[in-house]
């Protein structure tokens, strides 16, 4: 529904109806300013990024840096507001993150951020979110395997991993894949580590044979660790429900001005090539999202 029209019609109705009726209406919060206006009043755009998530958002010498942090800074600059980064601890799944950081806030307090980055953008997932607006896919991730050249002769099927040590982040999609795919035949080949970073470090230290993780994370971490001669390969993993996915932006639903401002800003960053440079600075090959941003934006 067009929220501006809705507000106009509500104002007209207000001439006729007692206010108690309006108060009971779900649209009673129409009087609340658009999140963009709130941000302008506050004088800062607060953007939520994942905590300790290299190369996208991670602390370095007391400051948050990374591709998502740079993207947040570029968005804030285009919108004309100073940036405040909110590093967030991930919940059990992204629904928790959206609730705690975008539309409701954590029960411990702290309120919500204006924007959240690195949100998975499957069309079904986007459609399921009624409290958060997910739009502007800006990058595409794909599950990949990193290994030293020659370690695997023929990695056309994940079954080639059997009997080798494959580092995975504990509780990640790679962990689940290694634990569950092919009737569990890969299960004992998984080396479960607390983070993808720890897994790449273990690969660098020659403690394991490969790492399975999203490609952007692998590339970024390999650059951070440096001096590694490692091949990454993206293959179709049979039995894995999503091999590749787009990531995009989330805001609280019902903030058309903020949404439009972000869409315009992101479009400019994509067109100018700035987005690609941000990724390149962290050693990540930029892969454009597959979803048409207009399709996702029509939510």
């Amino acid at each position: 529904m067009n929220r501006v029209l809705a507000r106009v019609s509500l104002m007209l109705l207000a001439l006729w109806l007692p206010t108690s009726v309006l108060a009971a209406d779900d649209d009673a919060d129409e009087a609340v300013l658009d999140q963009l206006d709130q941000a302008r009043e506050r004088g800062v755009l607060e953007v939520a990024v994942y905590r300790d998530f290299p190369p996208y958002s991670y602390p370095q010498q007391g400051k948050y840096v990374g591709a998502d942090v740079d993207l947040a800074a570029a968005l804030a600059r285009k919108i004309g507001l100073p940036l405040k980064v909110r590093p967030i601890m991930p919940g059990d799944d992204a629904d928790d993150d959206l609730r705690n950081n975008i539309w409701k806030g954590h029960y411990l307090g702290g309120g919500v951020a204006d924007v959240m980055l690195h949100v998975g953008m499957d069309p079904q997932y986007v459609a399921r979110q009624d409290k958060a607006d997910l739009f502007s896919p800006y990058f595409r991730e794909a599950v990949s395997i990193a290994y030293r050249p020659g370690r695997y002769k023929n990695l056309t099927t994940p079954m080639a991993l059997v009997g080798t040590k494959v580092g995975v982040e504990l509780g990640s999609i790679s962990d689940y894949y290694m634990s569950g795919a092919y009737g569990g035949r890969l299960r004992t080949s998984a080396v479960r580590l607390p983070t993808t970073q720890a897994a790449v470090q273990a690969l660098a230290d020659d403690e394991i044979d490969s790492v399975m993780a999203p490609r952007g994370e692998l590339q970024g971490l390999m650059k951070m660790i440096g001096g590694l001669s490692i091949e990454t390969r993206t293959t179709e993993f049979q039995g894995l429900f999503r091999t590749a996915w787009d990531v995009g932006i989330a805001i609280k639903a019902g903030n058309p001005k903020l949404k439009a401002a972000i869409q315009i800003a992101l479009q400019e960053l994509q067109t100018s090539g700035e987005l690609k440079s941000i990724y390149a600075a962290y050693g990540v090959d930029y892969v454009a999202p597959e979803m048409a941003s207009t399709a996702a934006a029509s939510h």
């Binding site: 998530f53 629904d95 690195h118 599950v143 509780g171 999609i173 569950g180 569990g184 299960r187």
Partner: protein
């Protein structure tokens, strides 16, 4: 309780002069200072000394039974407030605490890791301690605290940032502060610590991924770690800094390195059977949640462990939900009691498990003596095989999210919040019955193949909790441990979430989210008294005697895990307002006739 004959008389303190009695103990011990405080002997006899409450659970075994009877089925109608205390400031939320009473003081913990010392006669605040919580704590299920422990001149409690803090009882000053684990990795702590001899025993909570449960025993005086016992097989325990044997046998019930992150958190703490010198701890669900990726029984998740207090070694274990698929956990309190059956007295222990079964085990060896449902519906198991001790499953496990699309929804009861959750039951030495705060709810579980975790595709599962009945969720039930039969039940609209207490006055006390503290007839379940406290009661009631009068106290303040979950249950609790208040009651005596009553 088995220790009564041994200790009664010798250590029982006088009703009126706690200080005088303390001096006697000091003199007897000779080695203690004039400020001598709570001794291990006093802790072990706490259940039989009604002038104080030194332990959460009203005794190390956690029976929550008081021998006091001035407040009884006849007099309880005259129970009226004596004084109250507001926890204050904006930090309200769930108040799941239990007061401790000692040496003229009441020690009570509150939400957000706060602790107060009050004058037990007037309710006057003596001091307050507010633990400074760092940003970034991630407690799973509200900011509750479930009570403190007393030892010597210390009052000790665990905090949301996974510390154990010991304060001086007189001043509230920090004496020691030990880190239990790293809050940044998602660890937290809300359970009351347990004192066993000179040790303070704690579990760990939080950390959905990567956590391995364990039980730690520290020197209660200094906080220094004495032993640590992991609850997942394959992990090395320690004793005085040295290796102390591996828990179980590596890879006997786990594949690969999955045991390294196997879960089995001990988030509800432990009880103690002094006569067999065993610490009983319940363990949580195994990790990861999706059971299809972790074949095997996944020991010792969803189990009861009996650990030798002096050695930190596991003596026996009983797994109530092998290969847990439902997040049933097994953390519930195991309460040692002496069971009269067929003319014999059996050293037993009972546990009302989240999975809906009321288990009775031999507390010396863990042998199953009985298992019967304490909820009206269990879809996951038709019973428990008395020979093997294993559940007889009904093919009610959720599907594999890696294989199926959304659509195959499974209805399972109880729900993952359990036939009974954290809230402790009580045992009455008078009636021989257990009083179990139970909830009637199930859950739809379905696969949610499209979700994300930290920006990456992820296999998820969806849940919706559903009440089983229109008019009630909560049911307080009296269970006969010898027969496994439900003797009586009292229904409640909202889910029960508070502790239970029984007394020799033939009363059972418990609170309701609707705000009432209630007293029931222990034999019939008839509701005899209730008082509206102004917010939901999820605390643990206690009773004690002072100046010849019997007192009852409970914290009021709605919160805990229930309001954090949506679904149809939320409708039943959405109008409950928050609070943070301690209520203390005693029998009304009018000034006009108080002389006559004395």
């Amino acid at each position: 309780m088995e220790t009564i004959p041994r200790y009664r008389g010798a250590q029982r303190r006088s009703r009126n002069t706690v200080v005088g009695a303390l001096s006697a103990i000091v003199l007897a011990a000779m080695s203690m200072s004039a400020q001598a405080g709570v001794t291990p002997d006093m802790i072990s006899t706490d259940a039989t000394t009604p002038s104080d409450v030194l332990t959460v659970g009203m005794g190390q075994s956690g029976q929550r039974y008081s021998s006091l009877s001035k407040i009884n089925t006849q007099t309880v109608v005259d129970l009226v407030p004596a004084w109250t205390f507001s926890f204050g400031d904006e930090k309200q939320r769930g108040q799941e605490t239990q007061p401790l009473i000692y040496n003229g003081k009441m020690f009570i913990t509150g939400s957000y890791s706060r602790l107060w010392a009050l004058d037990v006669k007037s309710g006057k605040k003596l001091w307050a301690y507010e633990h400074r919580l760092p940003d970034g704590i991630m407690p799973c299920c509200d900011v509750v605290n479930r009570g403190a422990a007393l030892f010597d001149d210390l009052v000790i409690f665990s905090t949301l940032d996974a510390h154990l803090v010991a304060l001086n009882q007189e001043t509230g000053k920090v004496v020691w502060n030990e880190k239990l684990d790293d809050y940044k990795a998602g660890y937290s702590n809300t359970a009351a610590p347990l004192i066993v001899k000179n040790l303070i025993v704690t579990g760990v909570s939080g950390g959905e991924f990567g956590v391995v449960g364990r039980v730690d025993a520290r020197d209660a005086k200094t906080g220094k770690l004495v032993w640590s016992r992991p609850t997942v097989e394959g992990h090395m325990g320690t004793l005085n800094g040295k290796d102390n044997g591996i828990t179980g046998k590596t890879n006997a019930s786990w594949e690969g390195d999955q045991y390294k992150s196997g879960g089995a958190a001990t988030w509800l703490g432990c009880t103690y059977g002094a006569d067999v010198d065993l610490i009983y701890c319940g363990t949580g669900n195994p990790s990861p949640w999706n059971a299809h990726t972790r074949p095997g029984d996944n020991l010792y998740s969803s189990s009861t462990l009996a650990i030798k207090a002096d050695t930190g070694k596991i003596v026996w274990s009983y797994q109530s939900t092998p290969h847990d698929s439902w997040d049933f956990d097994g953390v519930n309190e195991f309460i040692p009691f002496d069971m009269k059956k067929d003319g014999k007295t059996i050293k037993a222990g009972a546990k009302a498990d989240r999975n809906g079964f009321f288990y009775v085990l031999d507390r010396t060896n863990g042998k199953l003596l009985g298992a019967s449902p304490f909820v009206s519906q269990q879809t996951w198991a038709s019973g428990v095989d008395m020979k093997t001790g294993r559940p007889i499953e009904t093919a009610n496990r959720p599907g594999d999210p890696g294989k199926e699309d959304k659509g195959s929804s499974v209805f399972a009861a109880p729900s993952f919040l359990g036939g009974k959750n954290w809230m402790p039951m009580a045992y009455s030495q008078n009636t021989g019955l257990f009083y179990v705060p139970s909830n009637e709810w199930g859950m739809d579980i379905w696969n949610e193949p499209i979700t994300y975790k930290k920006g990456a595709a992820f296999l998820g599962a969806g849940f919706t909790i559903k009440p089983l009945y229109e008019d009630h969720i909560g049911v307080l039930r009296a269970m006969d441990p010898a027969t496994g039969k439900i003797v009586w039940e009292a229904k409640n609209g909202a889910p029960l979430w508070g502790g239970v207490m029984s007394t020799a006055g033939n009363l059972v006390f418990t609170g309701t989210p609707e705000g009432y503290l209630k007293a029931f007839d222990a034999k019939t379940g008839a509701e005899l008294w209730k008082f509206q406290t102004g917010s939901g009661v999820v605390g643990q009631p206690v009773t004690w005697e002072q100046d010849g009068e019997q007192y009852v106290a409970v914290a009021s303040g709605w919160g805990g895990a229930v309001p954090l979950w949506g679904g149809e249950v939320a409708k039943k609790v959405k109008d409950i307002t928050q609070g943070g208040m301690l209520w203390v009651f005693k029998l009304h005596t009018s000034k006009a006739n108080s002389v006559a009553l004395k």
